[in-house]
């Protein structure tokens, strides 16, 4: 299914409410690592309503800042 943040079709249900109540499902996107609960407020889980500055539509994730560089391999 579509990720509400990066809009790629790489999200899926990873959990349901463990008490069996059916209260919510948890969805996770394996491209951008975003997750959300279906019972969350609409303004935060509806792509049309989310604050655009938090969206990653078309974003190139390779350009995300690496704070800790990968070191050279020891010989």
């Amino acid at each position: 299914m579509q990720c509400v943040r990066c809009l790629r079709e790489s999200a899926s249900v990873v959990a349901k409410a463990p008490d069996g109540s059916g209260a919510w499902e948890m969805i996770y996107c394996k491209t951008c690592n975003f997750s959300w609960r279906t019972s969350d407020e609409e303004q935060f889980i509806n792509p049309a309503e989310r604050d655009k500055s938090f969206q990653l539509e078309g974003a190139t994730l390779e350009k995300v800042q690496i704070l800790i560089p990968i070191p050279p391999l020891r010989k």
């Binding site: 109540s21 996770y28 951008c32 690592n33 997750s35 609960r37 407020e41 800042q65 800790i68 990968i70």
Partner: protein, 481 residues
């Protein structure tokens, strides 16, 4: 009285009227956040909150705001809950010098009453929630990550315990955020240069003092366990993890055991950090879990982080002040107190007797070069030794009457900064601001105008009389005291 573990501390908080059990039904979002924020808005007296009726998580327990007020912090130290902040500071400073405290190894620990090695799903095992609305996922914001040095694996003191934010990314994988100054990065560099995974254990609901020492600036080869023992007076009981050789807190509510995948970076964030702003998306480390162990009827402890003042400030506050206080006093005994409460030491107020002209500014420069001061101490304010740096009114008086703007304000350009500080640009770079609000000393321009009025004697007697009279009056008119 020294607490053995998290549950004994919760029991004591409840006895002291500092713990509320909230059993009304709540939604994970946004209700948990609302309760946590409300509790955080009472920094002096706010209670810990235990929730046990979260929709979808019936039967599971969540603890919030456990360190969220000075009253709770005082109780953790075994002091009366009304102990003034300045006295809490000096108590922590005094106990700091008791290092090393006792660490005791046990077997069959309570944290391993239940062991899960397959089908791990954190979204089901823990009552997770989004701390802030635009966070990238559910975060573990009060978890202690235990790790060892791959180049020195048998050195107990190099076992690192750190409070790093952890983003749950799928049922059994986690994004781990670290910044260059973190000790875990030293160990990761060793592991990654050998292309080896680094075993870690993520511990939730540990001894309250261990959570404090895990977010305290401590030398790399000093032990957070031993500091927790010294500060709490309680032997820290540890046990071997199930899947690796790490030492975990024996009474932790949960331990998530796994490995950091070497030479891999994954997107993590954003997360509304302790500065009150969302940090940006970053490329960080990935943890793959191998086992989850937990106590019977476990309690998931987590922390609300947002616009300060929050539990993060109370949790980290005093143990941020104390190491720098002792480091300054090694060569500058004129330092009387250090207040580094503001966002883990981004702003620091130092009370110091000005030994000679310009001495206070030298103290600022020494502070800026301490291990924690290097990336953090951005705004450094010096006040006289008889000014309480924890008393906002006194500090503002010093600013108002002692600062000569043309002489006492210094800006140092191009110094390290902290990536979580939104004004650090680029992230990790900043400057330092020194404001000297001390009384000038010879050969600087000394003036009799600086002499303050004499202190009034026997004040305690009069304060007591007025307080009692006011209390009697309140009772007479039926008002709450």
């Amino acid at each position: 009285m020294a607490f053995r573990d998290f549950r004994e501390f919760l029991k004591k908080l409840e006895e002291e009227g500092q713990l509320v059990r909230y059993s009304e039904p709540v939604r994970p979002e946004p209700d948990i956040r609302s309760l946590a924020r409300a509790a955080a808005d009472m920094p002096d007296t706010g209670p810990a909150v235990i929730l046990d009726n979260i929709r979808g998580y019936k039967g599971q327990q969540l603890a919030l705001n456990v360190h969220g007020s000075w009253a709770n912090y005082a109780i953790m130290l075994g002091l009366p809950k009304t102990t003034p902040l300045r006295e809490l500071f000096y108590e922590v400073a005094r106990r700091w010098e008791r290092y090393p405290g006792e660490v005791r190894r046990v077997t069959n620990p309570a944290c391993q009453e239940n062991v899960i090695t397959s089908g791990i799903n954190l979204y089901e095992l823990l009552p997770l929630f989004k701390v802030n609305p635009y966070d990238g996922g559910c975060y573990l914001s009060k978890a202690i990550t235990v790790s060892g040095d791959p180049d020195d694996p048998d050195n107990f003191d190099k076992t690192n315990l750190g409070l790093y934010r952890l983003q749950v990314q799928g049922p059994d994988t986690i994004g781990l955020n670290v910044v260059p100054a973190h000790d875990l990065v030293i160990q990761l560099r060793h592991a990654e240069s050998l292309n080896r995974p680094l075993p870690i254990a993520i511990c939730l609901g540990a001894h309250p003092m261990l959570t404090v020492t895990s977010c305290t600036p401590i030398a790399y080869d000093k032990s957070e366990y031993k500091y927790a023992g010294a500060l709490s007076g309680a032997p820290q009981e540890i046990a071997k993890a199930v899947t690796c050789n790490l030492d975990v807190p024996a009474w932790a509510e949960y331990v998530l055991e796994g490995e950091i995948t070497p030479r891999l970076r994954v997107t993590e964030g954003p997360f509304a950090d302790m500065t009150g702003s969302y940090s940006s998306l970053r490329a960080q480390f990935r943890v793959q879990l191998k086992a989850v162990t937990h106590r019977n009827n476990p309690i998931f402890e987590n922390l609300y982080c947002g616009r300060p003042w929050t539990e993060h400030d109370t949790l980290t506050g005093l143990s941020t002040c104390v190491p720098m206080y002792h480091q300054l006093r090694e060569t500058m005994p004129e330092v009387k107190a250090v207040n580094a409460l503001y966002q883990h030491g981004l702003t620091v107020i130092v009370a110091v007797d000005n030994r000679f002209g310009g001495y206070a500014k030298s103290v600022a420069m020494r502070l800026a070069s301490t291990p924690h001061g290097v990336p953090y101490a951005k705004n450094i304010l010096l006040v006289d030794g008889d000014v309480d740096p924890f008393d906002t009114l006194q500090v503002r008086w010093a600013l108002s009457t002692r600062v000569r703007p043309e002489r006492d304000v210094t800006v140092i350009h191009n110094t390290p900064g902290h990536p979580s500080d939104p004004s650090s640009d680029p992230p990790g770079m900043s400057g330092k601001l020194i404001i000297d609000a001390t009384t000038p000393a010879y050969p600087d321009k000394v003036s009799p105008k600086y002499r303050t009025v004499e202190p009034v004697p026997n004040l305690d007697v009069y304060r007591k009389v007025l307080s009692e009279m006011q209390g009697n009056l309140a009772r007479a008119v039926g008002a709450k005291p």
